[in-house]
């Protein structure tokens, strides 16, 4: 569409040639085979199966059953007395990327965290050690229309940032409502929006502008005019959102702003939205369910700012019981290390069943990221992303033993050294000690300090 017509023509053959060369030069995504024997297999979509084997062949789950044979050279894991579940998926994190916010412009859909992947980030390994195989590396919440996000597979050990990307995962984008964009732009710079009214109009004007841009290109491509419009990656991306090519993940807290965005999207015919954080989602659960919107929430975070003061840790349970596809996310390099425990809190707060609690960190986030056909449950044909636990994953005594991505054991509690760094500083032998206990401001990372209140949590 749009400019693609021209560029495609120019580039078609060239790109093909380039691809051939690139193929030679680029390493393939590494896959392997592994047999996990005799565990309690928590499939998520087909119940729990005791004393059952799971065979992963060349990165895909080939079979689930009893007495399976390992192919030649495949690793065998004895999971006797252990629990085997799908790799945990975090629908909201900022790990493994070198930049989170391009906070200079309140509308910045053209930027993409996929351009800033850092495969050496220790956060990735430590998430694996918590059983998380996939995370949604999101842009921050400084801007009303933030950047595109990247669904990454935790292939820690890989040096190429491109190989961290989950190949074939749909494009996603971050939107943000409420206090964060109001604080950064309105309060910080005296540039609209300073209110939730202003935020609504930003969405409306952006969508209208993108429609206009598409129109101009259509006129040019159909020969109606000979003057090509100026190329604008920002409007290109907005047009892609409106065409439904990009899933929206919107940072939101208050019930009113959630309703507002659903109204705007309805007016422009846009579907596919997951409300992130969605602390007051419980108040509008029926509306969310009716719109088909999803919610990705914290297990229990609240009160770190005014818009989350009227929250409840029972949010996930209320949403689930009202038929909203709900996930529990981390948004934090520490929480991502024990998402299984965060999901377990939905049992204290709302009595969810084991399977519903585990859906919150497996198939549901997979649905929200549009990758549910590939991951999120243990089914034949799906990706070989698995975590093996000692003790039930919802127990406080659960300890991840192996985390497997594409059939490769990327975390092994017994075999790996303490120091797992890949990129070693040639200047300092002893890695620095960091005092910070509360590192709760990733969502506004890269926003200049003067715009933020110190010592506060800014999710």
């Amino acid at each position: 569409m749009r400019t693609k017509n021209i560029i495609t023509n120019i580039k078609a053959i060239y790109t093909m040639l380039l691809c051939c060369i690139a193929f030679l030069g680029q390493a393939q995504i590494e896959k392997a085979s592994v047999l996990i024997k005799n565990g309690t297999v928590i499939t998520i979509t087909d119940g729990d199966k005791e004393n059952t084997d799971v065979l992963i062949r060349d990165g895909k789950i080939q079979s689930i059953g009893k007495g399976l044979k390992a192919p030649n050279g495949a690793k065998v894991i004895d999971a006797d007395g252990m629990f085997v579940m799908p790799g945990i998926i975090d629908a909201h994190s900022h790990i493994g990327i070198d930049a989170v916010n391009e906070a200079t412009n309140v509308i910045s859909p053209e930027v993409a965290t996929g351009d800033a992947i850092n495969p050496f980030a220790m956060t990735l390994y430590r998430a694996l050690a918590g059983g998380v195989t996939i995370s949604h590396a999101m842009h921050g919440s400084a801007n009303a229309i933030g950047g595109q996000c990247e669904t990454i597979k935790h292939r820690f050990g890989t040096m190429d940032p491109e190989e961290m990307k989950m190949e074939g995962a749909p494009r996603t984008i971050k939107f943000a409502l409420g206090e964060n964009p109001m604080r950064v732009h309105g309060e910080g710079r005296n540039i609209a929006p300073r209110t939730r009214m202003g935020i609504e109009q930003l969405f409306r004007s952006s969508f209208a502008e993108a429609q206009n841009y598409t129109q101009l290109w259509n006129e040019y491509n159909s020969g109606k005019t000979k003057t090509p419009p100026a190329y604008d990656l920002r409007l290109e991306t907005l047009a892609d959102i409106m065409a439904g090519e990009i899933l929206i993940h919107c940072h939101s807290y208050r019930a009113d702003e959630i309703l507002m965005l659903m109204n705007v999207l309805e007016d422009y015919g846009v579907k596919n939205i997951t409300f992130q954080h969605c602390n007051e989602g419980f108040k509008v659960a029926p509306e969310l369910a009716a719109f088909g919107a999803h919610a990705s929430v914290f297990s229990d975070w609240w009160a770190y700012k005014f818009e989350v003061y009227y929250s409840t840790a029972y949010n996930a349970a209320i949403l689930m019981k009202n038929g909203v596809v709900t996930s529990i996310n981390s948004d934090d390099r520490q929480l991502i290390r024990h998402l299984y425990h965060e999901a377990a809190k939905s049992q204290r707060y709302g009595d969810l069943s084991d399977n519903d609690a585990l859906k919150l960190i497996t198939i549901n986030p997979a649905i929200q990221l549009g990758i549910e056909k590939r991951v999120g449950s243990i089914e034949t044909g799906k990706d070989g992303d698995i975590v093996v636990f000692k003790n039930h994953p919802l127990s406080i005594y659960a300890v991840p033993q192996y985390t497997i991505v594409d059939g490769i054991v990327r975390f092994d509690i017994n075999e790996q050294p303490d120091d797992m760094r890949i990129d070693i500083d040639p200047k300092e032998a002893m890695p620095s000690f960091y005092e910070d206990v509360h590192d709760h401001d990733k969502c506004l990372q890269d926003v200049q300090d003067f715009l933020l209140h110190k010592h506060s949590h800014q999710h």
Binding site: P286, Q334, H338, V399, P431, Y434
Partner: protein
């Protein structure tokens, strides 16, 4: 509600108050036929009687008088209330709204700032915390070198004094040679220099305290009027004279070693707080006999090279080395996660029994309240709760809660919103 109540009278009260605010109830309560996890005297099945705010009796069987509310605890567990050794509870309400935060006064040498003064008994955070079994917390001021005096509070009361649990301590942030955060661009060299400078400042303060002590004790002995008003030094004197504990916040290995030296040189009764790298120097801390408020346990490793579970293992390693360990979450609105911090400690080497002690009797003893709090023993203050299982497990529900013998309704903003919105009325309609 899931509470099983056999007393008819109590049931009626419950019904009536459904329309209004539920209030805590005082009186005489018998926890009947419960599994009593006493912490200090093993686990037994029996009855526990609460009277006049204290545990009046623990026996295999107690016959209640007619005034006593009997609560059937068949198959249920009774635990002493949990104690969090490091929180901002009562001092902070909304993170990003600075005017709701009362734990960080201006100034660096202000040991006379009293946390108890600023504890807000009506903080929404307090009910949210206690309904999860946390009955007591240390409210800690932060920032600067000597940010003030922390206070131990019980999580029920309408005035700070009613809440006070009887322990206070001056807080000191030991000079750190670590980086403050990823934004900290100082070189290792500069950090070292800064820490050395700060250490010198502390030594200067102690020199002055020494002089102040001499003048102060002489003037008292001779009945003379003392020199001018100096609340900072007055606040430090009990610490200087070894009469009161000083809580020292310290994390990095070398800083801990320096803090031990400093404590020994100045003969201070010290408690260490946070202690992230305690596991590297557990033997040295044990040798010095300094108890530790460790935590948060669920924290991110301090160095890129650390094993991923180093923070989880920290309390277990310290405890095994012989250090008396309690746990501090360093939380405000989520102090309720204390049992899970203890659970992680238990899972990663400490064991459930030790972890349970860490959040009960050890904390009580560290705060000098071993005879009052921290276990189910006759005569102790009735801070306890009834659960349907292991309180470290998320699946477990807290069924009854007592603070100072008051039966506290298990209600908080979170439960109220749940009850209102699980089935919203009206639901979906235009």
């Amino acid at each position: 509600m899931r509470i099983i109540i056999t007393s008819f009278a109590f049931f009626v009260v419950g019904l009536l108050s459904a329309q209004q605010v539920e209030k805590p109830v005082n009186g005489s309560f018998l926890l009947d036929n419960a599994t009593l996890v006493t912490v200090t005297n093993g686990t037994m099945t029996g009855d526990l009687l609460i009277q006049d705010g204290r545990i009046a009796e623990i026996e295999e069987s107690i016959s209640p008088d007619p005034e006593t509310t009997v609560i059937d605890c068949q198959g249920k567990f009774v635990y002493p209330g949990f104690i969090d050794g490091n929180t901002h509870l009562g001092l902070g309400e909304i993170g990003a709204v600075s005017l709701t935060q009362d734990y960080n006064e201006l100034g660096s040498f202000i040991p006379h700032m009293q946390a108890l003064t600023a504890v807000n008994p009506s903080s929404v955070n307090i009910p949210v915390t206690r309904v999860e079994g946390v009955t007591t917390a240390l409210a800690v001021p932060t920032g600067g070198r000597f940010p003030g005096t922390a206070a131990l509070i019980n999580l029920h009361g309408y005035t700070p004094e009613q809440m006070s649990a009887g322990f206070k301590a001056v807080i000191m942030n030991f000079p750190s040679s670590g980086k403050r955060g990823r934004w900290d661009r100082r070189s290792e060299e500069d950090i070292k220099k800064d820490a050395e400078k700060a250490t010198k400042e502390i030594d200067d303060i102690w020199e002055k305290a020494k002089l102040y002590h001499t003048i102060d004790s002489t003037s008292q002995a001779q009945g003379k009027k003392r020199i001018d008003y100096n609340p900072q030094m007055d606040a430090l004197m009990p610490v200087f004279r070894g009469e009161a504990s000083l809580i020292i916040n310290v994390n990095k290995k070398n800083d801990i070693l320096n803090a031990i030296k400093w404590v020994e040189t100045n003969k201070i009764k010290a408690i260490f707080m946070s202690v992230a790298e305690g596991w590297r120097v557990a033997d040295e801390i044990a040798k010095a006999g300094i108890p530790c408020i460790v935590g948060p346990i669920m924290r991110y490793p301090s160095r890129d090279s650390d094993r991923y579970d180093a923070p989880y293992k920290n309390p277990g390693i310290l405890s095994k080395a012989g250090v008396k360990v309690c746990i501090g979450t360093n939380e405000t609105e989520n102090v309720r996660n204390l049992p899970y911090n203890a659970g992680f400690a238990a899972t990663y080497g400490m064991g459930t029994e030790e972890a349970l002690k860490a959040v009960t009797i050890n904390a009580a003893e560290i705060f000098g309240l071993g005879k009052e709090l921290g276990s189910l023993e006759k005569g102790k203050i009735a801070n306890l709760f009834v659960s349907d299982g292991d309180p470290f497990e998320t699946k477990t529900n807290i069924l009854q809660l007592f603070i100072n013998g008051w039966n506290i309704p298990l209600e908080s903003r979170h439960t109220l919103l749940y009850n209102e919105f699980l089935k919203r009325d009206p639901g979906l309609s235009k």
